[in-house]
């Protein structure tokens, strides 16, 4: 079973893998449970038995993604859905709480996060402390679950999720280009964005292939740009907008902005919901219908 356990300091929670009943006590659920655990299912594809996984609303879309891509079979997975009212920025927690403390009770209201430790209760204004990837949350309640742990949270209207994309679109092309050049030029090519991505499931990634060499190992703006654009197009229509790529990037490249641009275009073109929202709705670029225009095939 894949869930969350306390990490090395109060502000961190880690993916936990348990297989015995007496380990259940290790598991926690609080507003620091950031990691999307769905991708770890791939590690258990070929293991015997079933695997249970804890998912939040955003993460649950990744499960549908994996099921639709036949990466894992439905019978193999037990989905433990947790309706998630939003997560807290761990840096703010780290700034105020003793790193060695243990969170005993956590609560989230419309106004506040409140974390209780042995040293008292700490409250954080929700507006300020809400994690970046939660600000445009579409589905607090998982879209798929075998067991729903907790009360369902009705979807609220996060407003237009594409405000940042539109602002960028309105810039003159030179400025847009300069913006992305600045971002991509500092890419380390550590591949954390790819490795954390639930849409990245290729057995051998093109970026790892020696031959043919689509993108050279050289780290420079040209190769880095090629890497990011190929990746963005590769996950087009499959990116579930979980925000993990953005969160893990060590040099803060705004990857969800890039992915959301494509998400927006696909929504505009095909009038479809965010990928992974429904098991029945096939990805627009991964399905064929007779009504498809035949402009290029």
């Amino acid at each position: 079973m894949i869930g969350y356990a306390p990490g090395s300091e109060v502000s961190r929670v880690v993916p936990a893998f348990i297989s015995r009943e007496d380990e259940v006590d290790r598991l926690v659920w609080n507003p620091l449970c950031i990691n999307n655990l769905a991708k770890y299912l791939l590690d258990y594809r070929h293991e015997p038995g079933k695997v249970a996984v804890v998912v939040k609303g955003c993460d649950s879309r990744a499960i549908i993604r994996l099921l639709q891509d036949n990466q894992i079979s439905r019978e193999k997975v037990i989905i433990l859905g947790i309706p998630c009212p939003g997560l807290i920025n761990p840096d703010l927690v780290a700034a105020r709480l003793d790193p060695g403390a243990q969170i005993t009770v956590a609560a989230v209201s419309e106004q506040d996060f409140s974390l209780q430790t042995g040293e008292g209760t700490f409250t954080f204004a929700r507006d300020e402390a809400l994690l970046k990837k939660c600000r445009d949350c579409e589905q607090h309640t998982p879209v798929i679950a075998d067991f729903m742990l907790g009360e369902e949270i009705p979807p609220n209207d996060p407003g237009d999720p594409f405000v940042a994309v539109k602002t960028l679109e309105e810039l003159p092309v030179e400025e847009r280009s300069a913006y992305w050049d600045k971002q991509f030029s500092r890419c380390l090519r550590c591949y954390a964005c790819r490795n954390v991505c639930p849409a990245c499931t290729c057995r051998e990634c093109v970026f790892d292939q020696a031959e043919p060499c689509w993108v050279a190992k050289a780290n420079n703006l040209s190769e880095n740009t090629a890497f990011h654009l190929i990746r963005a197009f590769h996950v087009a229509g499959r990116c579930v907008d979980c925000g993990e790529c953005d969160r893990v990037c060590p040099v803060n490249i705004p990857l969800s902005l890039l992915n959301r641009k494509i998400l927006k275009d696909i929504k505009d073109l095909f009038n479809v919901p965010t990928p992974g929202t429904s098991l029945e709705e096939l990805p627009p670029l991964g399905a064929f219908t007779n009504s498809d225009p035949d402009e290029f095939m």
Binding site: E9, Y40, R194, V196
Partner: protein, 346 residues
């Protein structure tokens, strides 16, 4: 050796001058939480208030991608031409942990086979250290034999003082640099600089949130290669290269050719990571480190044991970068503590 002081105004002018006379590499605030060492044109671009750059400054001496030589194979002949090297440089504002990181890289690129690329840059680069003014929550340099005002390895060490900066000259090369720009410096007649730095060091030493006890860990690892612990740890590892790329002591690289026309091109090297599966995968498919367990184990054994076996130096300087940036909280401080625990139950 000598100590001097420099006023804030003079520091500004000095750095502007240095940027003119040398390639000046200094910390730059790139984004809200990202600072990087980059070539700068003057003081205005520099962020001396940074605590720890996102990526270690090793990249100046050992660039992420470095052209080694050009080849041309026309007329059935091979011609090799050396790539340009950058020439005299000042690496300015190095935190003590990062200077120690350079000292950990030195023996790797030295030895029976001298790595000319690194050696050339190292010889051409003056290292100017900068005492820390804050301890970040993931800093643990004092546990790894360093300290926030420890200038060992630098040519000059700057320490911020009330009315400017103190400068300690640590090597003849540092002395030369100060002499060249002596108009900006005042002699430390009242002997304030060293006591101020020592006082700062004591104050900062109390700010470390976590002390890591490495006692016995190396000895335990000498005896225990196979531990279930590594498998447990590796389950959550994403296999990305963050920890290795931002680390001041990781030195693995790959070598590759680029030849657009098939006749001439360039041979370069670039950082590589032992976290990647293809790092050790051989052409025939055999991989001596087939799963993430072996790769994670290799990285931490490298830091805690192998580097000491080979060079008698710690492979970790306690900068805390990997702790801050690991997306799944693989925390070397915790690993050291966990290994102590595993050893206790052994």
């Amino acid at each position: 050796m000598e100590a001097y002081t420099i006023s804030r105004d003079n520091l500004r002018t000095w750095l502007d001058t240095l940027a003119r006379d040398y390639t000046l590499i200094a910390p730059v605030r790139e984004e809200e939480t990202v600072s990087l060492f980059k070539p700068v044109r003057g003081f205005a671009e520099i962020n001396l208030g940074y605590t720890n750059s996102t990526v270690s400054p090793k990249g100046w001496l050992f660039p992420q991608t470095e052209e080694m030589f050009f080849f041309s194979t026309s007329d059935g002949q091979i011609t090799l031409a050396d790539a340009q090297t950058p020439g005299p440089a000042v690496l300015f504002g190095l935190r003590p942990c990062d200077i120690k990181g350079i000292l950990a890289l030195d023996p790797v690129f030295n030895g029976a086979y001298q790595d000319c690329y690194y050696q050339k840059r190292r010889q051409d680069t003056i290292l100017v250290g900068l005492s820390c003014t804050r301890v970040e929550r993931h800093c643990f340099c004092t546990s790894m034999g360093g300290g926030p005002t420890d200038g060992e390895g630098a040519d000059l060490l700057l320490t911020e003082m009330d009315d400017g900066y103190g400068i300690e000259v640590l090597t003849p090369r540092g002395e030369e640099l100060v002499n060249r720009y002596q108009q900006y410096f005042d002699a430390d007649r009242e002997n304030r600089v060293i006591p101020a730095r020592e006082e700062l060091g004591k104050k900062l030493a109390r700010q470390f949130t976590r002390n890591v006890d490495t006692t016995g860990v190396k000895e335990f690892l000498d005896q225990h290669f196979e531990l279930p612990y590594w498998g447990e740890l590796a389950r959550r590892c994403l296999g990305c290269g963050i920890c290795t790329y931002i680390c001041p002591t990781c030195h693995c690289f790959d070598i590759f050719d680029q030849s657009p026309d098939g006749e001439s091109g360039v041979r370069s090297r670039c950082w590589d990571s032992c976290m990647f599966s293809h790092f050790t995968r051989m052409a025939g498919g055999h991989n001596p480190r087939p799963t993430q367990k072996e790769r994670v184990r290799n990285r931490f054994l490298h830091k805690l044991k192998y580097h000491r076996d080979r060079y008698n130096l710690d492979g970790c300087v306690g900068c805390g970068r990997c702790v801050t940036r690991c997306p799944v909280n693989i925390d070397i401080r915790q690993i050291i503590a966990d290994l102590q625990e595993v050893a206790r139950h052994d």
